[in-house]
């Protein structure tokens, strides 16, 4: 049986209650809105990208504990990375939360984001964990449309 504590790890609860970088950027040069119509989760991700580097990333919005904590930790992880690194990380994260990658190297590669390992046992919650990431990707690609993980 999937354990609730694996899903709602302390770090996740802590981030969901006190999300980091939870604000609008003064002058974002990229932004996108992500929406899960079925759950009502809605986030906007703001980016300051200079050249190839994500100088700053913040978010605002509403969502469940998983989606909010994921957005919060995403901003911490992505800040300072190159666009290519951020996109690669999302690819790995997606494989990780869908249970497709669990080797030691892959878990190590996740770093702090490894706290989301429990998500793969709750398939209905994968879209919560990835909403902010999909939104980040849309912002990086300069997509105008709202993205959705439904």
């Amino acid at each position: 049986m999937a354990e609730l504590r694996d899903l709602y790890q302390e770090v996740i609860l802590e981030h969901s209650k006190a999300p980091r970088n939870f604000k609008k950027l003064a002058a974002p040069n990229h932004q996108a809105e992500g929406f899960n119509p079925l759950c009502g989760d809605r986030f906007t991700v703001y980016l300051d990208v200079e050249g190839d580097v994500v100088r700053d990333v913040t978010f605002q919005g509403n969502g469940c504990a998983i989606s909010k904590a994921s957005a919060s930790m995403m901003t911490q992880t992505v800040k300072g990375k190159t666009v290519a690194e951020a996109e690669k990380l999302f690819e790995h994260f997606h494989r990780f939360v869908t249970g497709q990658s669990r080797s030691e190297a892959e878990v190590a590669d996740m770093g702090k984001l490894a706290v989301f390992s429990g998500v793969s046992e709750f398939p209905a919650r994968v879209k919560c964990a990835t909403l902010a990431w999909h939104t980040l990707q849309a912002a990086l690609e300069g997509k105008q449309d709202q993205v959705s993980t439904e």
Partner: protein
């Protein structure tokens, strides 16, 4: 209903017997299962209800013993299938107290019933500058078909508002009935809040101005007795799967005069009397609106479900569920941090709530681990969520097989949510 049965039900309601919930539960095989190691507590009945053994057996028997196409074969099986299919129409007629069996049209569900009316009656009668009136507590299925129609016809969709308890403002509704209003489409019971609309009164108001009324009965039919003649509504739509029947089958009732005047919805087999390449003559009611081979097993299964429901009696079901709702409302209100969404004086079967700052989705996941099935989200009623300034709610909804123990489990489950996320 036969005279004997009528007499029996009068006597029964006089002594008000409580339902034998244990006996009823035993008739639903799915309720025996365990989920995540816990006994299943199914409280997502507004989404779909579970099916009693008699419905499952009826569908199985149909496929095993009489599967054939209807209305065309001269052979034995086709005659059996046709007879059972048409008998189910009669059951629906008596269930809704409709004047004629030919006013019962089988569709895929409430959604298709509403789309049928929007695309036939609506397209013929709604023009530029006209208005369609709905209410603020409609399901998306009673919003979007009218929006599509209004977009096509440059007509306007008007929305009658509600108060903070989730009750319709009748005065406002009446004011919105104007000479431009071509149809009013209103829900009988709100799926997100449980509010019961005063349909009879609303129909009277509309009819005073010669405006026809469509009623979305998806959430009403499983919970309260419906009499379309007493309501005097012009159309009434409901889904089989919410009233212990199969998915994919539903009913649209319409008054003969209106159905006769409406163009067909879909063209195809069964809906015609004769076809040449030059001209087609349409079949009589109800077949004009039943193009193609229908969901025969679904119709027969629906008939069994409605007979099952009538066997228990909707008065008894309504009373039982009202008791559950009162018990649940008191019990859930006691839990710190709970806010009920939808507190109408007239309510049926639905308890929508939010819990502190905890997102309903997290509530749903944790309850699921306790074997408790509820719905979380906007319940296909985003405008209702916007009205209350919330993104979503957790919703427990009741059926005839729920007992007070299910509510106790829910209350315990909510405590567990607070433990895990608190």
């Amino acid at each position: 209903m036969t005279l004997v049965a009528k007499a029996a039900s009068t006597t029964a309601s006089a002594v008000k017997p409580r339902l034998d919930v244990e006996k009823i539960r035993a008739q639903f095989p799915i309720l025996r299962q365990r989920v995540h190691g816990k006994p299943l507590v199914y409280l997502d009945n507004a989404a779909t209800s579970q099916k009693p053994q008699v419905v499952l057996d009826t569908i199985e028997r149909y496929y095993e013993q009489e599967n054939a196409n209807i209305h065309r074969g001269v052979h034995y099986l086709s005659e059996c299938a046709t007879a059972d299919y048409e008998a189910a129409r009669g059951i629906v007629q008596s269930f809704l107290r409709a004047p004629r069996a030919s006013e019962i049209i089988f569709v895929r569900g409430t959604t298709e019933g509403i789309n049928l009316v929007a695309q036939t009656y609506g397209r013929t009668n709604v023009g530029a500058g006209d208005e369609v009136l709905i209410t603020a507590i409609e399901h998306h299925s009673n919003i979007v078909p009218w929006q599509i129609l209004c977009g096509e016809k440059q007509a306007r969709l008007r929305v009658a508002p509600i108060n903070d308890r989730g009750e319709l403002l009748l005065d406002e509704f009446e004011k919105l009935l104007t000479p431009r209003t071509k149809i009013a489409a209103i829900t009988h019971v709100s799926n997100a809040l449980g509010t019961v609309n005063p349909i009879k009164q609303m129909v009277e108001m509309a009819h005073l101005r010669n405006i026809p009324v469509l009623v979305d009965g998806a959430q009403a039919v499983p919970h309260i007795p419906v009499d379309v003649q007493a309501l005097d509504c012009d159309f009434y739509a409901f889904s089989g799967h919410k009233v212990y029947g199969p998915t994919g089958i539903g009913v649209l009732y319409g008054k003969t005069e209106l159905l006769e005047a409406m163009p067909p919805y879909q063209g195809g087999g069964d809906m015609i009397s004769s076809v040449t390449f030059e001209k087609t003559t349409y079949n009589k009611l109800p077949y004009k609106f039943e193009a193609g081979t229908p969901d025969i097993a679904g119709v027969i299964g629906l008939g069994a479900a409605l007979e099952y429901t009538q066997g228990i009696g909707l008065d008894a079901i309504a009373e039982h569920e009202h008791d559950l709702l009162e018990y649940a409302t008191a019990k859930i209100r006691e839990i710190p941090g709970v806010r009920l969404i939808g507190t109408a004086a007239e309510k049926a079967g639905v308890l929508s709530f939010i819990l502190d700052e905890i997102h309903p989705h997290d509530v749903g996941t944790i309850l699921d681990q306790e074997g408790i099935a509820i719905r979380t989200g906007h319940h296909c009623s985003q405008p209702v969520m916007d009205r209350f300034g919330i993104p979503a709610t957790a919703r427990a909804s009741f059926a005839v097989y729920n007992a007070r123990e299910d509510i106790d489990a829910l209350a315990k489950g909510i405590e567990r949510v607070r433990e895990v996320l608190g």
